[in-house]
C-alpha cells in the first residue's frame, strides 16, 4: 500500500504542471510520443484532457509490433508452416494479419506456435525439443534486442543448434530522422522513449537535435513523468531552445548501457529495414553478423516471400507517422476492433489504435480537470 500512497502523492503534483501549461503563451504545437508504452499511458490516464488547447499529443513509430512490415509477418507465417518447427513469439504478434493469414489462424490449423515471455523461454523449448527447429520471432527495438543477442550467444556457447531467430529488430534514431525529413509531418517536440533510452543513452539523440532543431525530452511512464516531459518541451519552445533533456533521471543517463549495446553489436549489425508506413529506412534494422549467420532463420531455411498484400483500407502507416489519430481511419471501431483487428495498431498492447479503443474518451461530456467546474 505504501507504493500506492507514494504514487497518489505524485499524482497530486500534476495540477501544478497543468496550471503552468495553462498560463504560458504557446503557439499551436504538436508533440510526438515515440514509444507505444507512452501512448498507452497517455490514453489510460486521459492526459490529453490535461493539455491546453495549443498542445496536441500524437503517437509515433515506437510500437515494435506495429512497425513490423507485412512481408515480415508473412515470413513468420511461412516459418510456422514448416514441418517439425516450433515458433516462439511474444503474444502481441499472433493476432497481426499478414497477406493471407495470422499466426493465430495458423495455430488453429495445427501450427506449433508458443507464446513466451522471454527469449530465454524459447531457448529452453529448444533444449527440450532437440528434434524440432525452434524459431524465435525477433521483434523489438534496442530495449528487447540485447536479450535476444544474449540468447544467441548462449545458444552458440551451449551448441543449441536447433535454435534460430528471424530478426525484424530495429533501431530507433534512423526512423526519427525519416520523420523529421518528411515535409508532410509537423513535429514541434519529441517525448523520447524511456526504455530505449536506457540502452542508447540521451546523447544518441544529439545529432538529430542539432540537425533538425527539435526539442527532445526523455520521459518515464508515470503520468507525472509524462506531464513533466510535456512541460520541459513547452519550456524549450518558450526559451527557443532545442536540447535533449532527461525527465527520467532514475533510469536514463547520457551514455546508456554500454554492456547491452556491446552484446547487441557482437551478434547484430545495422542494415536496411522496411518499416510499416515508412518503407525502407537505411541502417534502421539489425541483421545477423556473418559469424552468427547459423542462427539466422532467414539464412537457414527458405522463407522467401514472393507476393505480399497490405490490408485494404488500413491506415496504420499514417497513424505510426503521427499524420492521423486512430479515429480518423474509417475502419477504426467499425470493421477494425480488437476482436477483429485489421491493422497491427489495433492488435498490439502498445498500439495507438488499441489505446484509443481501450481507453476511449470520444464525446465524453464529463467535466475535464481543466474545465470551469473543476478549476
Amino acid at each position: 500500500m505504501k507504493e500506492r500512497q507514494a504514487s497518489l502523492a505524485n499524482h497530486q503534483l500534476i495540477p501544478q504542471l497543468t496550471a503552468y501549461l495553462q498560463q504560458i503563451d504557446l503557439p499551436p504545437l504538436r508533440f510526438m510520443e515515440v514509444c507505444g508504452t507512452h501512448t498507452m499511458a497517455i490514453a489510460r490516464y486521459g492526459l490529453r484532457q490535461l493539455m491546453p488547447p495549443a498542445i496536441t499529443l500524437t503517437s509515433g513509430p515506437g510500437c515494435p509490433v506495429c512497425v513490423t512490415a507485412t512481408a515480415d509477418i508473412d515470413t513468420f507465417i511461412a516459418a510456422s508452416q514448416r514441418p517439425k518447427t516450433i515458433i516462439t513469439t511474444f503474444g502481441d504478434l499472433i493476432k497481426v494479419r499478414g497477406s493471407k493469414s495470422s499466426l493465430q489462424e495458423e495455430m488453429g490449423r495445427g501450427g506449433d506456435i508458443r507464446i513466451v515471455y522471454s527469449v530465454l523461454d524459447a531457448l529452453d523449448i529448444a533444449r527440450k525439443n532437440p528434434n524440432h527447429e525452434v524459431i524465435f520471432l525477433g521483434v523489438g527495438f534496442e530495449t528487447t534486442t540485447p536479450t535476444v543477442a544474449a540468447a544467441v550467444l548462449t545458444a552458440a556457447q551451449n551448441k543449441i543448434n536447433n535454435f534460430s531467430v528471424i530478426t525484424s529488430h530495429k533501431v530507433m534514431p534512423p526512423a526519427l530522422e525519416a520523420l523529421f525529413k518528411d515535409p508532410a509531418i509537423k513535429i514541434d517536440g519529441l517525448i523520447c522513449p524511456g526504455h530505449v533510452s536506457v540502452i542508447i543513452g540521451a546523447d544518441a539523440y544529439l545529432p538529430l537535435v542539432k540537425k533538425y532543431r527539435i526539442p527532445c525530452v526523455i520521459a518515464g511512464f508515470e503520468p507525472l513523468d509524462i506531464m513533466q516531459g510535456v512541460v520541459l518541451l513547452a519550456k524549450q519552445i518558450v526559451d527557443k531552445k532545442s536540447e535533449v533533456e532527461i525527465a527520467y533521471q532514475r533510469a536514463v543517463n547520457r551514455t546508456g548501457n554500454n554492456q547491452a549495446r556491446s552484446i547487441m553489436a557482437t551478434v547484430f549489425t545495422e542494415g536496411a529495414a522496411v518499416w510499416r508506413g515508412f518503407g525502407e529506412i537505411a541502417a534502421s534494422g539489425l541483421h545477423f553478423r556473418e559469424e552468427y549467420r547459423h542462427f539466422d532463420a532467414r539464412h537457414r531455411f527458405d522463407l522467401t516471400i514472393t507476393e505480399c498484400k497490405e490490408p485494404a483500407g488500413c491506415r496504420c502507416g499514417e497513424v505510426l507517422k503521427g499524420i492521423i489519430p486512430p479515429p480518423a481511419c474509417k475502419l477504426f471501431n467499425k470493421r477494425c476492433h480488437p476482436g477483429h483487428p485489421i491493422g497491427p495498431c489495433m492488435v498490439s498492447s502498445e498500439g495507438a489504435c488499441a489505446a484509443f479503443h481501450k481507453y476511449d474518451t470520444t464525446s465524453l461530456h464529463y467535466p475535464t480537470p481543466l474545465s470551469k467546474e473543476n478549476r
Binding site: 515494435p64 480488437p338 502498445e350 481501450k358 481507453y359 474518451t361
Partner: protein, 336 residues
C-alpha cells in the same frame, strides 16, 4: 461473427455476448432467459425459485486458494445469491478424462463437499462420464443449483437507479492473476491466491439490514469488474462513474498486471460481488460487509449516474475521465 468458435467466445467479453445474442437467444428466446441474469427466477406454486447452471473447465485444476471442485460449488452458490436467493440444492455432473488420478478426483470431491457444507447446501444429484485421453482436459464439472427467494426481494440487473452507490466487496483480479501466473508458469514474486468463496452470507446480511435498498447484485467473474458493470449499465440503462483511487486492489496484483499489460478491471474474480445500493444505506452496508469474512476490503467504488446511459466511465487518478469497455478477446502479454 467469425465462422468458427474461437477462444474469444469463451472469454466472457464482447465475443461471448455476441455468441449468446446471435446463437442462443435467437433460438431459446423467452422472457426469463432473455433477462440474462446470473440465475433465472421461476415461480412454482407459491414459491419463487432461483435456478442456475454453470460449467467449470479451469486449467490448472489445482491452484493457490482452491481447485476446480470448490470453485464449481462456490460459483453456483454465488449465481443463486446474486438474485437474493438462499441456496439449497446443487447437482454435479463430471466429465473425466481417461487417466485422471483417482487421488486427484478424491481431493476435488472432498473440497466440493466441504464447500457445500460450509454454505449449508446439499449435493442431491449427479452424473459421471468418462472420455478417452485428449477428448477432455483432466476434469470438467457442471453444477446446477436451486434456491428460494423470499417475498419482497427484487434484485436484478435492470434495477439500478440513478444515485445508487456501487460497492465492490473486496480486492479485484485476485483469481484472474493467480490462474494466469500458474498457467503461464510465470515466476513473478507475489503471494497470489484465488479468492474463490461463497457470497450468500454477505448477501443475506445486506438484505436483512436494508430490505428493498439493495437494487442490483452481480459477481464479476470472467471479463472482470469492467465487463460486469458494462452489462449492468446496459440492462439498467444508466451511466456508471467509477473512481480509480477507490478501487480496492492488492499492490502485488497491481504490479503483476502492469508487468503483463493486463487491466485488473478485466480480470476474473470468484469471491467478490458488485452491489448497487440506495445512497442512504451505502455506508452502513460497507460497515456490515467489513465485519464478515469475505467482505473485509469492501469499498464504495463509484455511483450510478443519469449521464452517459449504457456506459461505464472512470475518473482516473489524475482527475481525467475515460470510458471502460468490455473485454475484447483474450488478454495478451505485452512485448516491451
Amino acid at each position: 461473427m467469425s465462422d468458427r468458435i474461437t477462444l474469444d467466445h469463451g472469454s466472457g467479453g464482447k465475443a461471448s455476448h455476441d455468441l449468446i445474442e446471435e446463437i442462443f437467444l435467437s433460438s431459446f428466446s423467452n422472457k426469463t432467459l432473455n433477462a440474462l441474469e446470473d440465475s433465472a427466477l421461476v415461480q412454482i406454486g407459491s414459491e419463487r425459485l432461483a435456478f442456475t447452471t454453470d460449467s467449470y473447465v479451469v486449467d490448472p485444476i489445482f491452484f493457490p486458494g482452491g481447485n476446480i471442485g470448490d470453485l464449481a460449488i462456490n460459483g453456483t452458490i454465488n449465481d443463486l445469491a446474486m438474485r437474493g436467493a438462499t441456496p439449497l440444492y446443487i447437482s454435479v455432473a463430471m466429465i473425466l478424462e481417461e487417466g485422471l488420478a483417482i487421488s486427484d478426483l478424491k481431493t476435488i470431491v472432498a473440497s466440493m463437499q466441504e464447500a457445500a457444507m460450509t454454505a449449508n447446501v446439499q449435493i442431491v444429484a449427479g452424473d459421471t462420464k468418462v472420455v478417452p485421453v485428449g477428448k477432455a482436459d483432466k476434469i470438467f464439472i457442471n453444477t446446477t443449483g436451486i434456491g428460494t427467494v423470499s417475498e419482497g426481494v427484487e434484485i436484478n440487473g435492470s434495477n439500478g437507479r440513478v444515485g445508487d452507490k456501487i460497492i465492490l466487496s473486496g480486492t479485484m483480479a485476485d483469481h484472474g492473476i493467480t490462474i494466469l501466473c500458474q498457467r503461464e508458469g510465470l515466476a513473478i514474486s507475489g503471494d497470489f491466491c484465488s479468492d474463490t468463496a461463497p457470497l450468500h452470507q454477505l448477501v443475506a446480511a445486506m438484505i436483512a439490514d436494508s430490505p428493498g435498498q439493495i437494487h442490483v447484485l452481480r459477481d464479476p467473474t470472467r471479463g472482470g469488474v469492467a465487463t460486469t458493470l458494462q452489462e449492468l449499465a446496459t440492462s439498467s440503462q444508466v451511466g456508471i462513474l467509477l473512481r480509480e483511487t477507490a478501487l480496492p486492489i492488492r499492490a502485488d496484483v497491481q504490479g503483476a498486471c502492469e508487468l503483463l499489460g493486463m487491466d485488473p478491471l478485466h480480470l476474473a474474480n470468484e469471491g467478490k460481488l458488485l452491489a448497487f445500493v440506495a445512497p442512504e444505506v451505502a455506508e452502513q452496508t460497507i460497515a456490515i460487509l467489513h465485519r464478515l469474512p469475505h467482505g473485509s476490503n469492501a469499498a464504495i467504488i463509484g455511483e450510478v449516474k443519469a449521464d452517459h446511459p449504457g456506459e461505464v466511465l472512470l475518473e482516473t487518478v489524475v482527475g481525467s475521465h475515460r470510458r471502460i469497455n468490455m473485454l475484447h478477446g483474450q488478454p495478451l502479454p505485452r512485448i516491451c
